[in-house]
Symmetry: C2
């Protein structure tokens, strides 16, 4: 994280899980002052990270949409991030700060790490932590993520079925993230371990389309990418003290 008074700073701004009011005061201050904002976006259409901060944008900022190609084989992500990093570096070289918007927390499974990996050695990079989807999911479900001396494991649902099963066996509480098309696999594992009654499901926590559903009612379909399953093996442990 080199520094130079004549150059701009890259901010990795955690903008929280979806509710624009879950932005921190620090992220808001930096967001409003930055002449340039950058954000991940689908190949076509609006960026979720940008939509979270839209009510707070002062207008007049240069915007860099980092568009994720659908066809990763033909358009490698490597090149997408290389190009975005170059564009961001040009702004910093000209003395302009850049705020890179990151849904949730930049360092909790965030794509910001790919910009960080490319830029942090030569430029000043400041990470502003944000509220993660886990905290928002637990708040929505009205149940602690972890209590007392729980070993809590966070498991991305794309992991192989055997890995998910082994890790779920060895913990006190779990959060399963990135569900999407992996939901049926996750449900199979929970069922085999007898944990279905201990698991709760929420999608789009803290967003306008937040929805809580019993796992048993979900059928064999997919879940949204921004869906979570929280598992508490010891049940309502917090009632103890």
């Amino acid at each position: 994280m080199a520094d130079s008074l004549s150059k701009g700073t890259l901010y990795g701004l955690g903008v929280g899980p979806g509710d624009p009011e879950l932005l921190t005061l620090k992220a808001l201050r930096i967001l409003k002052a930055a002449p340039v904002i950058a954000y991940p976006a689908p190949e076509k259409g609006p960026s979720l990270a940008r939509s979270i901060v839209a009510p707070h944008l002062p207008g007049g900022q240069t915007e860099i949409a980092i568009r994720m190609p659908l066809d990763w084989a033909r358009f490698p992500l490597q090149e997408v991030y290389d190009r975005a990093a170059r564009e961001i570096a040009e702004h910093m070289a000209a003395g302009r700060d850049v705020a890179a918007l990151c849904q949730g927390d930049p360092f909790f499974y965030g794509s910001f790490m790919y910009l960080f990996g490319r830029l942090a050695r030569e430029w000043t990079v400041v990470v502003v932590p944000g509220v993660s989807s886990l905290g928002a999911g637990a708040a929505a479900l009205g149940a602690p993520l972890a209590a007392r001396d729980d070993a809590l494991v966070v498991l991305p649902a794309p992991l192989p079925e055997a890995v998910l099963e082994a890790r779920l066996e060895d913990c006190d509480a779990a959060a399963i993230v990135k569900l999407g098309r992996h939901l049926p696999k996750v449900r199979r594992v929970l069922k085999r371990l007898g944990l279905e009654d201990r698991a709760r499901y929420v999608e789009h926590a803290s967003m306008e389309n937040q929805r809580i559903r019993p796992l048993a009612e979900l059928g064999d379909g997919e879940a949204p990418y921004f869906a979570l399953v929280l598992v508490h093996k010891r049940g309502e442990a917090w009632r103890g003290a």
Copy 2:
């Protein structure tokens, strides 16, 4: 979470890891509007949760300090939380909202769950998620907590040595929390697993007294309670894409 228009609401307010600017806009709004605030505090002296929001307090609020007795054998925590819950319920019965301040996130190893367990069945309780110490620690250390499909485990340091070792063996990344007097044990485990070079240490992340130190320099002493060790087995995985 029962509801009644004539009664007050209990808010579990995540106030973030320490930097007063890491409060969310939502927590700030609720904090300023609440006629009553409650917070954990040591037996004697100031409350850390209250100190985090002190710059934002409008003044004139009723304050409930939930003081934690040093001698848990003689003064059980059960009674402390029973009494605090009764006092909070009296305010709600009189139509007053109560904001319970929680360092970090209320449902991430937070003592708020003890109030939640006592009050959520009969009263309206709303949890406002906050930035956790994990996000603040990763931001301070300049290293992602978890990337791609990492299985991330959060381990309270008071867990038995054999449990810490087994869980650390089976993950891709780990965050070890509640270090305190357990630091020498954690260092032994990291050393046995050959993970000392993959582990980073930070105390009081995001606070004025934040300090990053190499694990090897820590000696055999204790750590503060608000210290973290983050472990990344795959090193700088984010440089890959």
